[in-house]
Symmetry: D2
Subunit: 138 residues, 4 copies
């Protein structure tokens, strides 16, 4: 399967005074592709992981390089894959390409924990989710 | 002078389904303290730097550790200082303490460029801004 | 042509502590369908209206009824049409249906002005935009 | 006691491409003054109403007039009062003044329901909250 990909246009409400994507908004887009990936690859709505299984994925560490700005209306092609799968934590990689450009204009490495939403204790990654993550490693 | 500090309560609209601060919202708070610091330390509204002098500070790289969650209503005491001043780039440090706790629950290192907002070319840091940044190094 | 329609899932970052769509986020979705409608119906990116033609559409008045909540993951089917076209103002109607439900769960009537973005003076609606708006009246 | 008032500067991340407050952001500010009012007037954190007492205030209907734009850096003086108190619903009024101007630049009338957050059934307004609301009627 490999990486998961969604294209999101830069919205009017996402650009700042300088006319470029306001940097906190990138993280909202990252989360959107994260949600959509689970829904598409796990075959059930992402929400069911949280609501029915009470599993959460809080961010522990994220490093992001902003190489070139995105302007209002630019198509942000977001590519999500996985670079590391631990016992109860995962490192995702987000790369944002401006349309058809060959190199990412934004790139992030994000470590998330896997937790029980009721106790906030870490959880071993469940088998069905691990299968999805392994497929994302490409 | 040293570090600049503002306390912002975690808002209803900033927490997520899990009842904790949604991680993209931290960056909005970081920007708020960044704006307020310039206004307080430069003695003119932050906006005048952008509007009148056409200087911008786009994010180039940011690394963030989320150590403990912030819950709805928690007072986020944000402390901003500077760890590096280059010719046309600056490394800021953001530390977020949950009320009176001694260790930061969130910590970020953020490299911003200094640019001309009309051309997006880098600019040498102007002298009056450099004075403010030096004072932030504590 | 008639109404323009887009379906947007309710995102993790859009729900509040109560697990339902935080009401300010509805307006962000309204703006997204507004942008997409222009791009689709005018045949040029919405951004070109603002950037090249310097035309803006500030909100003057909006009334919104929130009839039933949207929960995290619900598909919000947003239907945009026009109920009034003036000389330099337009009344849009937004209706948000939860998936296939027959009645809208949220409904808004929004009056926007048409202005010159450089002077903020009102503008007579340009002919090509008026054609798009007439088609939206269905 | 009368109306409750907070001044919030228009933030960099709140303005849009046109350099003025993006209209969905007004509603976030309205919610901030709503939260602060309860904390100040009830003498306990607003969060305790939701978390401990499981009472919520979902928006049912809101009408807003945007009379003059707010620009980046403008001080938005938000004044909150109450125009109607029902059995299980309340009409709040939000007026936003640009600094010391005598007339509000933005004005909203907002009907919220009072509900049990676990069942989403309406609740009779509790006595201590009614006292706070009556005092807001001025």
């Amino acid at each position: 399967m490999g990486a998961y990909e969604v294209t999101l246009p830069v919205r009017f409400g996402q650009v700042d005074y300088a006319g470029i994507m306001y940097y906190p908004r990138f993280f909202e887009n990252f989360h959107a592709v994260f949600e959509d990936m689970f829904t598409a690859r796990l075959g059930v709505p992402y929400t069911s992981i949280l609501e029915d299984r009470r599993i959460g994925f809080p961010m522990v560490h994220i490093e992001t390089d902003f190489r070139r700005p995105f302007r209002f209306g630019d198509p942000m092609r977001l590519v999500l894959d996985v670079t590391r799968i631990g016992r109860s934590s995962i490192t995702f990689r987000y790369r944002g390409f401006n349309g058809r450009e060959p190199e990412p204009s934004v790139e992030a490495s994000a470590v998330v924990a896997v937790i029980d939403l009721d106790t906030f204790d870490t959880l071993e990654i469940p088998a069905d989710i691990r299968v999805v993550l392994e497929a994302l490693k490409g």
